[in-house]
Subunit: 153 residues, 2 copies
C-alpha cells in the first residue's frame, strides 16, 4: 500500500486522478489518511500543552498551531466517503455509523474545529501564552465534542 | 491509547509534560505519531498531484502545500528517540536500523524535505501550476531519497 502511494505521488505508475482531487483515494486509504490527519493534529496539541506547562518555545508553538490548522483546513470530509463506514482489513475505523448520517451536525463540529484552530494560530502568532492556552482549550473541546458524539472509543 | 492522548490534551489527567515538549511521548506513541505525520503529508502530496492532473484548485493546492510544510517543520526528529527503533506491539515501524545511526545523513535528508516543502508553499502561493509541478516533484524526490535509504518497504 505504501509503495503504491509513493509511486502515485512520484508519477511512476499510470494511476490517473484526473476526475478530481479526492475521487480516486481508495476507501481503506481514506480511513488511513483521516486517522493520520487527526493523529498528527493530536501530537501537535500535546506539544502545545507541553510548552504551556514547561518552557514556552514560541516558534514551536507557532509551528504546532499551524500544523493543527492545516489538518482542520485539509478538506478531511472527503475522506469519509461512502464505503468507509466500517473497518477495511487492517485499516480500523472507530467512527460511529451516525457520523455518516448526521452530516449537518458533523459539518458544524468541523467548522468549530477550524474556527478554534484559526484562533490558536492567531494566539500563537501573538506570542501570548495565556491566549494560546485559551485557544488550545477551545480546540481540545472541539475535538472532544466530536469524539463524544461520533467516535466509538 | 487514544483516550489517554485526548485526556492529556484536555488536561483531564494529571499527566505532566513539564520537562519539555517532547520528553514524555511514549515510544509507541512516537512511532504512531511519526507515521501519521508522513501519512498526512502523503495524502496532501496525492491531492496536489490530482490538482495538477485534473482541475487546478488554487486554494486546495495552497492548503495542501502548507500541510506538507507543516509536517516538514514539525520537529519530527523528536519522534525517533532511542527505544523506537523496532515495532512496539501493534505500532509497527519500517525504519531501518541505520536511520538511528546515520544521523548526519538523516538530518541532510530532512533538510532537503523542508527546503522542497517551502518551495512548494511558495509555488502554491504564486498560483503557477508549472512551478507547483516542479516543486511537487522535488518534494516527492526528497521523500523517495529517504525511503530508499532508510525505510524497509
Amino acid at each position: 500500500m505504501k509503495k503504491i502511494t509513493i509511486a502515485a505521488i512520484l508519477g511512476i505508475t499510470a494511476l490517473s486522478l484526473s476526475t478530481g482531487a479526492f475521487a480516486q483515494i481508495k476507501p481503506e486509504e481514506q480511513i488511513k489518511f483521516r486517522k493520520a490527519a487527526y493523529s498528527f493534529a493530536s501530537w501537535n496539541m500535546v506539544k502545545i500543552k507541553a510548552n504551556l506547562e514547561g518552557t514556552y518555545d514560541a516558534a514551536q508553538v507557532k509551528a504546532a498551531a499551524n500544523a493543527i490548522a492545516s489538518v482542520a483546513g485539509s478538506g478531511i470530509g472527503a475522506l469519509f466517503s461512502p464505503g468507509t463506514e466500517k473497518s477495511i482489513g487492517a485499516e480500523k475505523t472507530f467512527a460511529k455509523p451516525e457520523l455518516f448520517q448526521k452530516t449537518a451536525d458533523v459539518a458544524k463540529l468541523a467548522g468549530d474545529f477550524a474556527a478554534a484552530s484559526n484562533e490558536l494560530v492567531a494566539a500563537a502568532d501573538s506570542g501570548d501564552a495565556a491566549a494560546v492556552k485559551a485557544a488550545h482549550g477551545k480546540v481540545g473541546a472541539s475535538c472532544k465534542a466530536c469524539h463524544d458524539q461520533f467516535k466509538l472509543r
